[in-house]
């Protein structure tokens, strides 16, 4: 009883309009960064996938190096590289200091990271389209670009959507890594509240509730979408 009273007392202490607004704003930052990273990552992914299946050896090689380097190193390291490494490289090259916002750094680092994963999932979706579809397009005289546009990509698209939604969920969760470079996203807001009250359990639980609401909503939406697409088959 005592414990429960205690809990509801701390809960009441934390769940004030000011604190909740603070946390929800931070949640918007998390989602915003994830949306931006998904958007730019998908563009990088389309380019990367085109590179991975290119007939040009050099382009193919570059695309593979990109994918392997990004997927083979921790995301935390990549974020720190853009936060600490890139500005000093720019300073060394140009001679003048460069201090981009941590939000920009966050979006860039996460887009580049996401792009590598998207490259692989887009490439595999394209290559999973039946060989016969490529051959039929070829014998009908469709150029490579038209074949991609009318035949291959529309069929690959269905396979791209579900993993892209999981990628989005991953990005929302991984954007919490940006708290270490000072981005005030959802996890950072929980840490800040915790520091204000010298108590971390409740704010971390609050952040968990927000994360779960986001991720569960998105995966529910994704299941609905998959059902609808299955119907149109």
């Amino acid at each position: 009883m005592n414990f429960l009273e205690n809990l509801s007392a701390t809960w009441a202490k934390f769940v004030t309009p000011v604190n909740v607004t603070f946390m929800l704003k931070a949640a918007c930052i998390s989602v915003g960064i994830a949306v931006a990273a998904l958007f730019f990552g998908t563009i990088l992914g389309v380019l990367g996938a085109a590179g991975r299946i290119s007939r040009n050896k050099v382009i193919r090689g570059l695309a593979s190096v990109y994918v392997e380097v990004i997927r083979g190193t921790p995301m935390m390291l990549q974020i720190l590289f853009f936060y600490l490494g890139v500005p000093s490289i720019v300073r060394a090259v140009t001679g003048s200091p460069w201090n981009p916002s941590v939000y920009l750094i966050g979006v860039v680092a996460m887009s580049i990271n996401s792009g590598a994963y998207s490259t692989e999932l887009i490439r595999s979706a394209i290559q999973a389209v039946d060989q016969g579809q490529w051959e039929a397009s070829e014998t009908l005289g469709l150029s490579y670009g038209k074949m991609m546009r009318f035949i291959i990509l529309p069929q690959a698209f269905k396979r791209i959507i579900p993993p892209l939604v999981s990628e989005f969920i991953t990005l929302i969760k991984d954007s919490s890594l940006l708290s270490t470079i000072g981005v005030v996203e959802l996890l950072q807001s929980a840490k800040t509240l915790g520091a204000n009250y010298y108590s971390y359990v409740t704010p971390l639980l609050m952040a968990s509730v927000v994360y779960l609401t986001l991720t569960l909503t998105i995966s529910r939406f994704s299941r609905k979408l998959e059902e609808r697409m299955a119907l149109s088959d």
Partner: protein, 243 residues
């Protein structure tokens, strides 16, 4: 119209087509027969430009078919002289029958949509599927799919039609409807090269039958001669098994 000069196609250490030479004249109907794995499909795919031979040349109307060329326009122009019908149809599943038929005429030949649809409707009627224009391929039977695939090739107005075992993936009761469409095409004077296990069809419709084994052309003759009077022991053996 088409000629192959000493075409050899290898897959790793396996020689699928071994030094094959062949001429196809306008109006001819050539059937390729032979045991499984003898290289019939590979030979046909070399003609269509779907496989790139290691050595030898394929000429379409006297012009070399060069798959490595930078001149992709020329390659496309050569490719659309030939229609190809696949064993597994390869219809575009995300498009209706009508869209399957009009895509290439619109995008490749530059026809306007109304004209392409008009022509598609005529060809669908010709293969007996006028009522299926708005259906998706998944809703069609195997025989109907193959007839749509034939109509799709015809929409490009090819000079020659290539068929790779067009009836092998069909339930027996649907083989006839597809063969009928092919017979009708033959009677209309279409030049055709086809790989088939339908010996009755070869005997009845072909102007020439070619027997392959181990990637080599071992015998070629009129159907009457080839079936009645086979010379090569491999062919005699093959015919004794299939007839």
């Amino acid at each position: 119209m088409i000629s192959l000069k000493n075409v050899t196609k290898q897959f790793g250490s396996l020689t699928a087509v071994d030094n094959a030479s062949l001429k196809v004249e306008k109006g001819e109907i050539i059937c390729l027969i032979g045991p499984s794995g003898s290289g019939k499909s590979t030979l046909l795919r070399c003609i269509a430009g779907l496989e790139r031979p290691e050595s030898g040349e394929v000429y379409i109307d006297g012009e070399l078919l060069d798959l490595g060329t930078k001149d992709t326009k020329k390659l496309e122009r050569q490719r659309i002289k030939m229609g190809f019908v696949f064993q597994h149809f390869n219809l575009f599943p995300h498009m209706t029958v009508l869209e399957n038929l009009t895509l290439a005429p619109i995008e490749v030949l530059g026809m306007d949509k109304a004209a392409a649809e008009q022509r598609a409707a005529e060809l669908l009627a010709r293969v007996g599927l006028a009522d299926k224009r708005d259906a998706y391929p998944a809703k069609l039977s195997g025989g109907q799919k193959q007839r749509v695939a034939i109509a799709r090739s015809l929409c490009m107005d090819p000079e020659i039609m290539l068929f790779d075992e067009p009836t092998s993936a069909l339930d027996p009761e649907m083989v006839g409807e597809v063969l009928d469409v092919m017979k009708e095409l033959a009677q209309a004077g279409m030049t055709m090269v086809l790989v088939t296990h339908e010996m009755g069809f070869a005997r009845e419709v072909a102007t020439k039958v070619i027997f392959l084994a181990d990637g080599k052309i071992l015998e070629e003759n009129s159907p009457a001669e080839l079936f009645q009077n086979p010379q090569n022991p491999r062919l005699q053996d093959f015919l004794s098994k299939v007839l």
